[in-house]
Symmetry: D3
Subunit: 245 residues, 6 copies
Amino acid sequence: MSRIDGRTPEQLRPVTIERGWSKHAEGSVLISFGDTKVFCTASVTEGVPRWRKGSGEGWVTAEYSMLPRSTNTRGDRESVRGKIGGRTHEISRLIGRSLRAVVDYKALGENTIVLDCDVLQADGGTRTAAITGAYVALADAVTWAQHKKLVKHGRKPLTDTVSAISVGIVDGTPLLDLCYEEDVRAETDMNVVCTGDGRFVEVQGTAETTPFDRKELGALLDLATVGCADLTAFQNEALARTLGE
Amino acid sequence: MSRIDGRTPEQLRPVTIERGWSKHAEGSVLISFGDTKVFCTASVTEGVPRWRKGSGEGWVTAEYSMLPRSTNTRGDRESVRGKIGGRTHEISRLIGRSLRAVVDYKALGENTIVLDCDVLQADGGTRTAAITGAYVALADAVTWAQHKKLVKHGRKPLTDTVSAISVGIVDGTPLLDLCYEEDVRAETDMNVVCTGDGRFVEVQGTAETTPFDRKELGALLDLATVGCADLTAFQNEALARTLGE
Amino acid sequence: MSRIDGRTPEQLRPVTIERGWSKHAEGSVLISFGDTKVFCTASVTEGVPRWRKGSGEGWVTAEYSMLPRSTNTRGDRESVRGKIGGRTHEISRLIGRSLRAVVDYKALGENTIVLDCDVLQADGGTRTAAITGAYVALADAVTWAQHKKLVKHGRKPLTDTVSAISVGIVDGTPLLDLCYEEDVRAETDMNVVCTGDGRFVEVQGTAETTPFDRKELGALLDLATVGCADLTAFQNEALARTLGE
Amino acid sequence: MSRIDGRTPEQLRPVTIERGWSKHAEGSVLISFGDTKVFCTASVTEGVPRWRKGSGEGWVTAEYSMLPRSTNTRGDRESVRGKIGGRTHEISRLIGRSLRAVVDYKALGENTIVLDCDVLQADGGTRTAAITGAYVALADAVTWAQHKKLVKHGRKPLTDTVSAISVGIVDGTPLLDLCYEEDVRAETDMNVVCTGDGRFVEVQGTAETTPFDRKELGALLDLATVGCADLTAFQNEALARTLGE
Amino acid sequence: MSRIDGRTPEQLRPVTIERGWSKHAEGSVLISFGDTKVFCTASVTEGVPRWRKGSGEGWVTAEYSMLPRSTNTRGDRESVRGKIGGRTHEISRLIGRSLRAVVDYKALGENTIVLDCDVLQADGGTRTAAITGAYVALADAVTWAQHKKLVKHGRKPLTDTVSAISVGIVDGTPLLDLCYEEDVRAETDMNVVCTGDGRFVEVQGTAETTPFDRKELGALLDLATVGCADLTAFQNEALARTLGE
Amino acid sequence: MSRIDGRTPEQLRPVTIERGWSKHAEGSVLISFGDTKVFCTASVTEGVPRWRKGSGEGWVTAEYSMLPRSTNTRGDRESVRGKIGGRTHEISRLIGRSLRAVVDYKALGENTIVLDCDVLQADGGTRTAAITGAYVALADAVTWAQHKKLVKHGRKPLTDTVSAISVGIVDGTPLLDLCYEEDVRAETDMNVVCTGDGRFVEVQGTAETTPFDRKELGALLDLATVGCADLTAFQNEALARTLGE
C-alpha cells in the first residue's frame, strides 16, 4: 500500500527544526512536520505562581493555539469568541504535562518557563509537532537561564529529552505520523509522547470509528517508539548546531 | 501489599448503579465507585444540531461537572468564574467520545441525547464512573425513545455496551480503580474505556512522576481489561432489573 | 376543593431532611419537599473576605444552582453559557440574606461559611426547600466549627432557626407549598422566610396575573406562618438525631 | 421624631416627572425622588422575541443600570467587568414584572417595548423611582404606537397605572420613601408596587437587622399604600400635560 | 450652500456647559453640542494603580459609554452583551489620552481621576463633546483636590485647557462640527483635539468614501483650529462662573 | 543626527514581502519592516454578513493580533483573558477601514474577504506593516477569486493600492518608520495610510508628551508621503513576481 504522499507506513514526513526564530524569546523554534508548521517560544521569568512560592521549585506550562487561517477553512479566533475551546485546552494541558515529565523543578529553581505553541499551518499532527518543537525551545531557554545564573551552577533542569508522534490505523494498516487526510480517515488514532530513553510519557489512543484490540495497540506503539527515536535524533542534531547558524 | 482501603491490587471498589433517580430525565442513574458518586441523566430531544440536519443521523454528547463541594476543599463554580476549566472540557469530551463509540447514528435517527454527569462526591475515578453510569442512562433513554417511536421499529441505536476504569502504578505496583489518595501518589495513571466485547475505545495513560515502559503499560491494560469486564456485568445486571424496583 | 396531589390547601408536601449526605462537607443535607430535592452543603473556611478582615466578624454566603436536567426540559448550564442568569443570582442572594438573619457574626468570629444549594430535581419551591435545608447544613457546620475550636467556647453563632415556604393564590384559593403545576397557574405567589420564633425575615409577593389586595395578602401570610412553624419542627427533629443514624 | 431632611414619617420627598427628555425615544422621562434621579426611556419595535412569535401578543421588558458615579463612591462599570451583577439583574426583573402587571398583551399586539432605566444620581429608592418613571415613559410609548397604528384602533394596552415606593423601619419608626442614609440604618425595608386602584403588584420586605412581625408589616403596608396613591396622582398629572410644555 | 440646520460651514452648533450636575462627583458637567448631550463626571481617589505606586505621579483615565437609547434605534447594552465594543474602547482611549496631554502628573501627586462620559443623547460629535466637557469636569475635580489638600499648595496639575471638534468634507465642502446626518454623508471626517494655545493633541482623519489630499486636510485643520478656539472660550466662561449659579 | 540603527531620518527599515506563505489561504504574505514581522492571510468566502445580503456588494474586514511572545516581555493571550483589549480592537478597525478604502464592493460582488494580521515579532510599526502586507494578501485573494469566477469577468474589485507608515518627532527631529525604541521616546507619533496615488486614507497623529503645531504636522506628512510611495513600489514589485518564485 502506498500512502497519499508516497511515504511507507513507518516513515515520518520531512522534519525541520529552526532555532532562534525570535529575537525576543529566550528560546524559539519553527518546527515543521511536512506541511504542519508550529512556532514555539519559551519565555523565562524569575519567580513562580503564588501557590508555588517559597518551595524552591520552578514551574513549566504551555499554551497552544491555532492561527485562524492555519487550517483549510478559516476558524474564529478564540479571543473574539471570548473563550477557549475544549480542544485548545486539552492540547495545552498535554504539552505542559509532556514537558514537565523531563523537568527537575528543584534544579530549575523558582523560575517559570512558559511555552507558546502557535500553529502557523496545520496538516495533521500539530500537537506532536508542538511538543517536539517546544522541547527544543525549552532546552534553549534553560541554557539561557544557566548563562544568566537564574539556574544554579551545575544544576540540570532537564532530565531527558521528550518528543511526540501520532500513529493511527487507516484502512486496517498502522501508519506513522498521519497527515490531515489520513487523520480524517483513521479508524483509530493515537498520540504518543516518549522520553529520549524510549519510555512513555503519554499514550492517548482513541477509536474514531472502530474499537481496537490489544494487538493493534501493540503495532501502533511499535511504530510510535521508532518515530519518537527518530525525532529525538533530530532534536539532538538541532541543539548541537550553534545558535544563529 | 495491602491497599489503603484493604483491597487487593486487582479489586474494584464497591459499585452501585441505581436507575430511575430522576422523574424528569428519559434516563437517569446514580452510580457509585466506593465514595465517588456521580449523577448521570440522559435527555432526549427530537432533532439534531444544525450542522447535522437532514443527514438522517442522530447525535450524542456529554457534559461533566463537579459540584463545588464534591471535593475535600470547596472549588469555585465554573458558572461564577464565567468559564469552563480545561479539565472539565477534557472530561466532557472524553465521555462524549466514549459513548459515541457504541452509537449507530443511522439507527438513532435525527434525535439528540445529552448526557449530564454531575459529580456529587469525588474520591478518584469520577470520569470512569461517569462513563460507566452514563452508558446505563443512555440505554434507558434509548429504550424510552423506542417506546415513543422516535426510533424506528427494529433499529438498535446501541451496538455494544461501554464502561471505563482507572488503573495506575503506585509504589511500583499496578492497581485497579484508584481512590483519590492512591491517585495522588501514582507514578503513572491511565484511564481505559472498553466496549462490552473487550476492545478499547480510549486508552489515556499519563506518567505523573516517572515515564513508564512497555511492560508496565501491558500490566495496566491487563488490569483494566478485567475491571471493565466486571463493570460490564454490573451494567447488564442493573439494566436487567425492572425500572422502579 | 381538592389539590392536584390530593392535599388540603394548608398542607405541606412530605418533607424529608437527610443529614450527613457528603463525606467532605462540614454540614450537608439532602432535603425534599415532595418531588423537589435540593442538596445543601456548608463549607467552613477560616478567614473572611478581604473587606471584612480585622473586624472580628464572620461571613455567611450562599450559591444556588439547578442541575441541567432537574427540570422537565433540559436547561443550558450557566457555566457553558458563561454567565449566571438573573433568577439564579436573585435566589442565591435571597438564601444568603435569609441565613444571615440568624447569624451572630461576632460569635462566629472570622470564619466564612458558604452554603451551596444544588437542585437535583425541581417541582416548585426549590428556593424555599434550599433555605430550609441550608439552615440545617449551616447548623451542622457551626457545630463542627465549635468542635474544631474555630468558634470560641460558649459563643452561639446562630440566634434562631430559619425556614421558608411558598404560598400562592390558585383559582382564587390560597394554597400552601405550591408544586410546579400549581405555581404555573397561580395568580399570585409569595415566598416567606420566617425565624423559629415566627417573625418574618423576607416576604416576597408577586402578582403573576392579577394584583392582590390586603385581605388576600393576609390570608397568604397566615398560611405561610403555619407552614414555617411546621418546617421549624422538622428541622429541630432532624438536628436532634445523631448524625449518621 | 424629625427625619434627617425634616420630613414627617409619612411624607414623600419632592417628586418631579419631566416627559420628553429624549428626542429619539418613543417615551422618555426624567424622574426625581429628592436627589434620586432616574432617566427612563421606552423603545418600541415592531415584532416580538422568537419564543412569542405568532401569538398575537406583545412583550414588555426592562433594563436597569446605575451610571458609575451615580453613587457617592465610583463603582465599576458592569460592561467593563464583563458581567451584570446580581442586584442589577434583580432590579431589572422587578421593573419588568411590575410594568407587565398592567399590560394587556393582546391589546398591545406583536410589538415589543423596552424600558431602560438609567440612574443618573442615587440617593435611595432608585428602583421605586425607576418603576414610577418607567410607567410614564411606557404610557407615552403606547400613545406613540397608537398614533403610528402599531396598536389597533380602540385597543388599550394599559389596564391601569403602576407606581412604587420604599418603606422601612428606622429606629423603630415606620418611614415612607427612605433616602440613602435612612436606608442604610433601616432594621427592615420594603419595596411596594401598587396599581392605580390600590392593589399590590409586588411586596418585597427584607429584615436587614431584625426580623419583623405582622403588626410592623401592616404599618409599612399602610404607609406604602398612601405613598403609591400620591405617586399615581403625580403620574396622572404629568401625563395630563401636553408633551413639550 | 446652506447646511441641514441652517448653519454656515464654519459655525458650531449651540454649545451649553452646565457644571455641578451631580451631587456626588468631584466634578460634573452636562455638555451639549446641539442635540448631542454628554454627562461627564470626574471622580477623584487618593492613590494610583499598582504599576504607578511610589512614583509620586498621578493618573487620569476615561470611560465612554452610550445609553442604549441615546441613538435613533436602541442599541444593546455592552454590560448585557458581556463585552465592550471596539468603538467604545477606541473613544475611551482617545478621551483619556487627550486629557492626559494637559496633566502634569508630578503636580497632581499620587491621585487618580477617572472621567466618565455617558452619552444621554447622540446627534454626531459625541466624542468631541465628551472631551470638551470632561476637561471642565476635570478642572473642577482638580480644584476640589486642591481644597482638600490632596494636591500640594502651589502645584498646578493642569498645564493648559483641551477641547475637541469634528470636521468633515460633505459634498465637497469642508464643514465644522458635523451633526449625525452630515456625518453619515461625509466623504472624509476628522476629529481634532487642541490645547488652549492652539496646538494639536490628536488629529484623526479618516476617508470614509474618498481619499483626501493635502489641501483638503489643510482646509479641515483650519476649520478645526477655529472651532477649538471657540470651545476654549466656552470652557473658560463656564469655569469662570461660580459653581452652583 | 544618526538614528539608533544608523538610518537617516527619512529612511525606511529594510522591507521584505514574501507571498504564498500559507498553503491554505487564498492570499498570504509574510512582511517585515526591519525586525517587525507580520503574517497576513486573506480568506475568501462566498456570501456576506446577514446585514449585507441581497445588496450585490461584498465585504472586507480585518483582525489583528500579537503572538504572546512577539514582544520583549510575554503578554497574556487575549483568548485566555477572555476579552480583546482596546488596542487590538482599534488596530483591527484601522486595518479594515484602510483596506476598504480601495475596495469596490460592487465589483467584488457578494463575497467576503477576511484579513488576519498576526504579529510574529514586534519592533514598532506593527499596524503599518500589517496594512501594507494585508494589501498584498488581499490582491492575491482577489486574483484567486477572479480565477474561481467568484468575481465577474472584467470587474476590478481593487481601485488602487494602499500602504501605511509611521512617522514621529524624536528629540525634535521628524523621523520615518520608527522602531520600538524610537517610538517609546517620540514626543509625537503619527500613522499615515496612503493610496498608491498619494492621497490620504487615514491620518492619526497623537502628541505623546508635547502638543504639536501645524508646521510639525506638515513635516511629518511630507515624510510619510514619501515613505508610502516607497512602500507602494515594494508592493507592486512583490505582486509582479510569479507566485511561488
